[in-house]
C-alpha cells in the first residue's frame, strides 16, 4: 500500500465522519475507530539461528463494536500491515476480538487487549523465497489516549503490539518450526460514537 492510498483512506474518513455521526441515535452504543499507523514488524523463529530483521511500514486499523458502559468497549478489530520486502509484499491482516478499557471517565487514557486470527501472506523472506499463505493465532495489547472521549467524534493516539503465532511455517526451502511475528505500531485514529 502506498502513502497516497493511505492518505486517501484518511481523507475518506474525514469526509465520511459527519455522515456516520448523523446516522447515529442519541443514545448510540456504537463504537467505531478508524485510523492509520506506522508499524515495525519482526518475524522470528524461536529455534533458528538466523538474525531476523525489523521491518517498517504503514498500517491501517479499524474497530467496530459496542459500548458496554462509559469506560468499556468491546468489539472487533482489523489491523492490516503491508510490508515491502525483497521477495514481494508481505501482507498481514489481524482480525481480533478486543476489549478496550478507559479507567478514568474524565481522562482519555485507555488500554486494550484481544485475541483472534491473523492471515499472513509471503512471510519471512529471510528464510528463502516463495509466497506462502498462513493463518495464525493473533493476540493484541495496546494503550493510548482518546481526545473528546465523550463526544460523537473523537480522536485518539495509540500504541499497540500485535503478535501472530504461525506455528510451523511451510516455505519453499522446507518447514520452519515455531514462527512468531511481532508487530509494534504507533498511530492515530478517529473515534465515532
Amino acid at each position: 500500500m502506498t502513502r497516497w492510498s493511505l492518505a486517501g483512506v484518511w481523507c475518506a474518513l474525514i469526509v465520511l465522519a459527519p455522515a456516520v455521526c448523523a446516522a447515529q441515535a442519541d443514545e448510540s452504543r456504537l463504537w467505531i475507530v478508524a485510523g492509520g499507523a506506522s508499524a515495525t514488524v519482526r518475524g522470528d523463529c524461536q529455534t533458528c539461528e538466523e538474525d531476523f530483521p525489523y521491518r517498517h511500514g504503514p498500517g491501517i486499523l479499524a474497530n467496530a463494536g459496542y459500548r458496554v458502559n462509559p469506560r468499556m468497549d468491546i468489539g472487533a478489530e482489523i489491523f492490516w500491515v503491508p510490508l515491502e520486502t525483497a521477495s514481494g509484499t508481505l501482507n498481514t491482516t489481524h482480525l481480533d476480538a478486543v476489549a478496550q478499557f478507559r479507567p478514568w471517565r474524565t481522562q482519555g487514557f485507555f488500554f486494550k487487549a484481544g485475541a483472534g486470527m491473523a492471515f499472513i501472506r509471503n512471510w519471512v523472506d529471510a528464510l528463502g523465497p516463495g509466497s506462502i499463505n498462513s493463518k495464525a493465532l493473533s493476540v493484541v495489547v495496546g494503550t493510548g489516549w482518546v481526545f473528546r472521549a465523550e463526544k460523537r467524534v473523537g480522536f485518539e493516539l495509540f500504541a499497540s503490539q500485535h503478535a501472530g503465532a504461525l506455528g510451523d511455517l511451510q516455505t519453499s526451502g522446507g518447514d520452519v518450526p515455531d514462527v512468531l511475528g511481532n508487530y509494534w505500531s504507533i498511530g492515530a485514529a478517529l473515534v465515532f460514537r
Partner: protein
C-alpha cells in the same frame, strides 16, 4: 413564680424538648454508634467495596512486585529485572515459553486471579476487572521477569485469571456474612481471605471485616447447590477394564446460581465448578464454566441460550490438558413430574489457547532431567513435552433432577486442538461420563460413575502417523449435599 412559669409551658413543648438527662444519655450513646464510614460516598451499596480505579492499578502492580520479590528470595535469576531487561523484552516481543505444564496451566491463572481481584476488591465491575487482569499480566510478562514475554502466559494469566478470580471472589462472598459480628464473623472473614487474599486484605484494611452491613445483592446467588464427595477410582487400560489398586480422590462440585434459567447480563451470576483432588495427581481435574450472558427462548422459557467462559485443567492416564475457551450453548428443561425434571444441553465453543502433553514420535516416556539447568534456577530451558494451540470443543449433557438436585448425569465432551507450538500434530480428545447418585440419609448419598477417556493424535509427519490411546475409569464415592 418559677413553678408557675414551668407550669405555664405548653404540654406540646414539654413533649418535644428532651430533658437534660435525656440529652446526656443520647449524647453518651453516640459513643456506642459505629464510626462513620469514610468510604460511604465511594460505595455503590452499603456492603459494596468503595470504587477506586487508582488503587486497583496500584494493587495490581503491588501483586507483581510481591511475586517478583518472592522469586528473588527463592534465588531465581529471572527475577533480577532492570530497565535494560525491560527494554530487551519490549524489543524482542512475544515468544512461547518452556515452563512446566502445571506452572503454566494452574500457577499463572491463579496469579491472574490476584490481578483480577485487585479490581473487584476496589469496586470495579467484571469487565473492568478483566481489563485489570490483562494489565497485570502484560506488565508482569514484560517487566516482572528477565524471561522474554510469553504469549501463552499472557493468555492463560488473563483469561484463566478472570475465570478463577471471579469464582474465588463469589465463593469467598458466600463465606462472608457482614450482618454478623464477633468471633464467628472474624473466622468467616479469615476463611474468605484464604480463598481471595486480595479482597480479604482490602476488607481488613478498610475495617469492612468488622463493619455491619448488608451483603452486596450481586454476591447473593439465586440458587446454590453442590456436592462434596470422596471415594476411590480405578483406571483401566486399552486391554483391561481394571488395572492395579484404586486411587483415592476428593471432589467438590458447586452449582452457583441457576445456569439453566433466566435472562442474565451479569457475568458469573451462574457458574459450575468441579475440583478433584487426588486420583493420580494432587489436582486431577479443575473445571469452571461461568455464564456471561443468558437468554430464555421459546414458550415458558423451556429453552435457554447462554454464552459462557470456561477454564479447564485435567490430568489422567490418557492426557494432561488445560484450556481457556468460550462456549455458546442451548439447554432444554422439561418437568417429568412434580419433583422430577429432565434437562438436556448442548454447547460448542472456541478454545483460545489449549495445552496438551505430547511426546515426539519414537519417544515413549518423558526423559528424566539430569543435573541443574545451566541457566540457573527459574530458567526453563526445555525441551517442553506439551503443545500449545487454539481449537474447538463441543459438549452434550443430560441431567435427571430430583427437587432440582441432579441424581443422574450423562456427559460427553469432544475437543480438538491444533498445535501451533510444539509437535506438528492435531489432537482429538473425548471424555464420556455417567454418574448416578442415590441419597442414603439426609445430606449423605452414594454415587457411582463410569468414565471413558480417549485421545487421538494425528502427527503431521510424512507418514501421517496416528496414535490412539483410550481407557475406562470407574469411581465409587460418598457424597455430602452442600446445597
Amino acid at each position: 413564680m418559677c413553678a408557675l412559669a414551668i407550669g405555664a409551658v405548653p404540654v406540646a413543648a414539654q413533649e418535644t424538648e428532651p430533658s437534660f438527662l435525656a440529652r446526656a444519655i443520647e449524647s453518651a450513646s453516640l459513643f456506642e454508634q459505629p464510626a462513620p464510614d469514610p468510604y460511604a460516598n465511594a460505595r455503590s451499596c452499603a456492603g459494596c467495596p468503595p470504587r477506586s480505579v487508582g488503587r486497583a492499578f496500584l494493587q495490581t502492580t503491588v501483586v507483581n512486585v510481591f511475586y517478583g520479590l518472592a522469586n528473588l528470595v527463592r534465588g531465581q535469576v529471572t527475577a533480577r529485572v532492570t530497565p535494560k531487561t525491560w527494554w530487551a523484552n519490549m524489543e524482542n516481543g512475544w515468544v512461547w515459553d518452556l515452563d512446566d505444564f502445571v506452572v503454566n496451566q494452574i500457577g499463572h491463572p491463579y496469579q491472574g486471579s490476584n490481578y483480577y481481584n485487585a479490581g473487584r476488591a476496589n469496586g470495579l465491575s467484571f469487565y473492568e476487572s478483566a481489563a485489570m487482569a490483562a494489565f497485570g499480566s502484560a506488565t508482569w510478562e514484560f517487566y516482572g521477569e528477565t524471561n522474554k514475554a510469553s504469549l501463552n502466559d499472557f493468555i492463560n494469566t488473563t483469561l484463566g485469571g478472570i475465570a478463577i478470580g471471579e469464582v474465588l471472589h463469589r465463593v469467598s462472598w458466600l463465606m462472608r456474612d457482614p450482618t454478623k459480628s464477633g468471633s464467628g464473623r472474624l473466622w468467616r472473614e479469615i476463611g474468605a481471605t484464604v480463598l481471595d487474599p486480595v479482597t480479604g486484605y482490602n476488607t481488613f484494611r478498610r475495617g469492612d471485616a468488622s463493619r455491619i452491613s448488608e451483603k452486596p445483592a450481586e454476591m447473593i446467588p439465586s440458587a446454590l447447590g453442590g456436592f462434596a464427595s470422596a471415594g476411590v477410582l480405578w483406571r483401566g487400560t486399552e486391554h483391561e477394564a481394571f488395572e492395579g489398586a484404586g486411587q483415592s480422590f476428593a471432589e467438590v462440585d458447586l452449582l452457583y446460581g441457576d445456569v439453566l434459567q433466566g435472562r442474565s447480563r451479569t457475568p458469573y451470576d451462574a457458574f459450575a465448578m468441579t475440583l478433584r483432588f487426588g486420583g493420580g495427581a494432587p489436582v486431577s481435574e479443575a473445571r469452571l464454566i461461568g455464564r456471561l450472558l443468558g437468554e430464555p427462548l421459546g414458550k415458558a422459557g423451556k429453552f435457554q441460550l447462554s454464552v459462557a467462559q470456561a477454564y479447564d485443567f485435567q490430568t489422567n492416564d490418557a492426557y494432561s490438558f488445560g484450556a481457556q475457551s468460550f462456549d455458546l450453548g442451548v439447554s432444554f428443561t422439561q418437568p417429568l413430574s412434580s419433583r422430577i425434571g429432565l434437562t438436556l444441553s448442548g454447547s460448542g465453543g472456541l478454545t483460545v489457547l489449549g495445552a496438551i502433553d505430547s511426546l515426539p514420535l519414537g519417544v515413549e516416556e518423558v526423559p528424566v532431567e539430569e543435573g541443574e539447568p545451566t541457566g540457573g534456577q527459574g530458567v526453563s530451558e526445555g525441551p517442553r513435552f506439551y503443545d500449545y494451540g487454539p481449537g474447538s470443543k463441543f459438549t452434550l449433557r443430560a441431567l435427571l433432577l430430583h427437587d432440582r438436585v441432579p441424581f443422574a448425569v450423562a456427559f460427553y465432551e469432544g475437543r480438538q486442538l491444533y498445535s501451533l507450538d510444539g509437535l506438528r500434530a492435531n489432537h482429538f480428545l473425548q471424555h464420556a461420563r455417567l454418574d448416578l447418585r442415590v441419597p442414603i440419609y439426609k445430606p449423605i448419598g452414594f454415587g457411582v460413575a463410569a468414565e471413558y477417556f480417549s485421545r487421538h493424535t494425528y502427527y503431521q509427519d510424512e507418514a501421517r502417523t496416528e496414535k490412539l490411546f483410550r481407557y475406562p475409569q470407574f469411581r465409587t464415592y460418598l457424597t455430602w449435599d452442600i446445597s
